[in-house]
Each structure stands twice: as C-alpha cells, then as structure tokens.
Point group: C2
C-alpha cells in the first residue's frame, strides 16, 4: 500500500517542530510523501533532505498551495485523522483493502469541509492528544510493524540496535 | 500495568508544544502520571488540568528537580525510548510481565548515564522521528489498543464517534 500524508495549515514559526515531527514520522513509518500547505518552509524541507541523506529513503516533503484540489483529485482512499472520527479498529480491514491512501492531519482548526470531502474520518482514541501520535499509531497498525525492520536504500548511516549506548555504522553505497 | 512517564529536560519556550503533546499522549494512552524536569512550566500543567476537567481522568503532570533520584528509586522496570535501542517487538513479552513501568523520553541530547541507568533501551524503529510518536506506539502496543475505547471518569464532555462532523455530548457526573 502506498500512503501519502497531507499536513494542513503549517505556520512556519509556531508549528515548525510539530510539522517536522509529522514529516519524520511519515518518513520513518514508510509513507511516500508528505504534502503541506500554509506557510512554505524551506528549513523544514532541508531538515528532511538532510535526514534522507544520512539515513536513506526517497521520502519527500512537498509544499502545495491548493489543498482542496489535492484532496479532490486524489485517486485513492482519503482519510482525515480526528478525535471526532470512527475508531480506526472498526475500519482497519476496509482501509487495508486499498492500494493508495491519503492521510490528512490538521492543525488546531480544521474547516468543516475537510470532514465532508474525505471518505473517512478516523480517530485514534476519542481524546485530545497529538496529530504526530495519531499518525504514528495509524501507520504502525496499517503496516503491522513493518517499519520496525526497514532498511532504507542509500543510507550513509545505519543504527545497530544496542542494549546500552549508541552504535552507528557508516556505510558506502 | 501501571505506566509512568518521565520527560527529560523540558525547555519552557522551545519545547512547550512538544512536551504538551507528550503529556496529552501519556494521558490519552492510559499512563498514570508524567514527570518532567528542566524548566517548571505552569502553563503546561494548567493545560493538562483543563483537559482533565473537560474530558476526565486523574492523570497528572508533575515537575521534579532530581530526575536521577526518580530513575534510581523507581521500583519497577525502567525503559528509555531511543532510536539506538533494541526494537520493542523483541522485548514486548518481557515488558508485559511487569506491573509497573517507567518510560523515559528525551529531548535532543540525552546524557549517556540515562542509557546506563535504565533496564532497557528500546527503539520504535531505528530511525530519527519523534518522542511523541515513539511514546504513542509503545503505549498502543503495550495496552493492545485498550486506549481506543476508554471512558474516563469525571468527564464533562464525551465525544461520540461520527462519520462526518463533530458530536460532543455534555454530561453531568
């Protein structure tokens, strides 16, 4: 399954770390690409390029202006993650039957039309918490832990799991 | 199982949203308490109190000065979440055999002694991403999705899962 992420309404100053965490989770948990709208943020894009350079993968962060067209024209299942939605566990088999999925995560105020434009509004608990957490749990459950053992191509650095301390292997590719 | 969280080295300005997300995840994913050290942050504590007041639970955020004593004196399994650690899936049965667990999540620079003081250094993928995501996936896997259907006591507001839109029920308790 190919999964794409759309992060809505990034504010370059206020959201810089939250959106960076969303992007890093999207990359580490095996999505293809994260689109974002709001303020274009070159620092965010460069941060992710740097992570790719060190740890591999072809994941990218792409700024878009017209998020409505992106949602409308996406040719797969469109899911909005929200605490108001249907619990993931009730829809997971249905979601897994698709080959291409767009996951939309919001900032504080998501307009009503997003709820209406998507195929599913899905909750990761019906409690207030974090779009970063919701995205990670969603992806872990959809990929069934596959992300735990991924080796990205083109990685200059590889972390070797260790009981105590840090083991980083440099490698040529 | 009773789980406690320790968030290391909170910087009130730079980390305010990241630490708030850690606290909200700790609450929504059924831990007992989140300790934090670094800068005391009354706004953070009040935010969580407000969430408790609206949505229930007795979860609390507690500032501590001496994180080393907290780790040393904790009478349960001590786990540090880090991208350098052993993949959770290799240790999950062992972890589940304990009744009381302390999860430590760091900021950018975690001192070497933390790696040595804990019983386990555990990774949620060996890739750089987010302490918020790592905490959420850890708790979802340990509690096996129990958090999806929790009704907290003393909740004034209850969210009713909905296909489209937001349904919030006010209730007396």
């Amino acid at each position: 399954m190919k999964i794409y992420v759309l992060r809505l309404f990034h504010r370059a100053e206020r959201d810089k770390r939250i959106t960076t965490h969303c992007a890093l989770v999207s990359r580490a948990f095996l999505t293809e690409q994260m689109y974002y709208c709001g303020n274009k943020d070159e620092k965010l894009e460069k941060n992710i390029e740097k992570v790719n350079k060190n740890f591999g993968s072809n994941f990218s962060v792409v700024f878009i202006k017209d998020w409505k067209s992106l949602i409308k024209n996406f040719d797969g299942l469109k899911i909005h993650l929200t605490m108001y939605g249907i619990p993931l566990l009730e829809k997971i088999d249905y979601i897994k039957s698709f080959n291409k999925v767009l996951i939309i995560v919001g900032s504080e105020k998501v307009p009503k039309e997003v709820y209406e434009m998507v195929d599913l509004n899905i909750s990761i608990t019906n409690q207030p918490h974090s779009e970063i957490a919701a995205l990670a749990v969603f992806l872990d459950r959809i990929f069934e832990g596959k992300e735990f053992y991924t080796n990205f191509e083109n990685a200059m650095l590889k972390i070797i799991p260790s009981e105590k301390g840090k083991i980083v292997k440099k490698q040529n590719y």
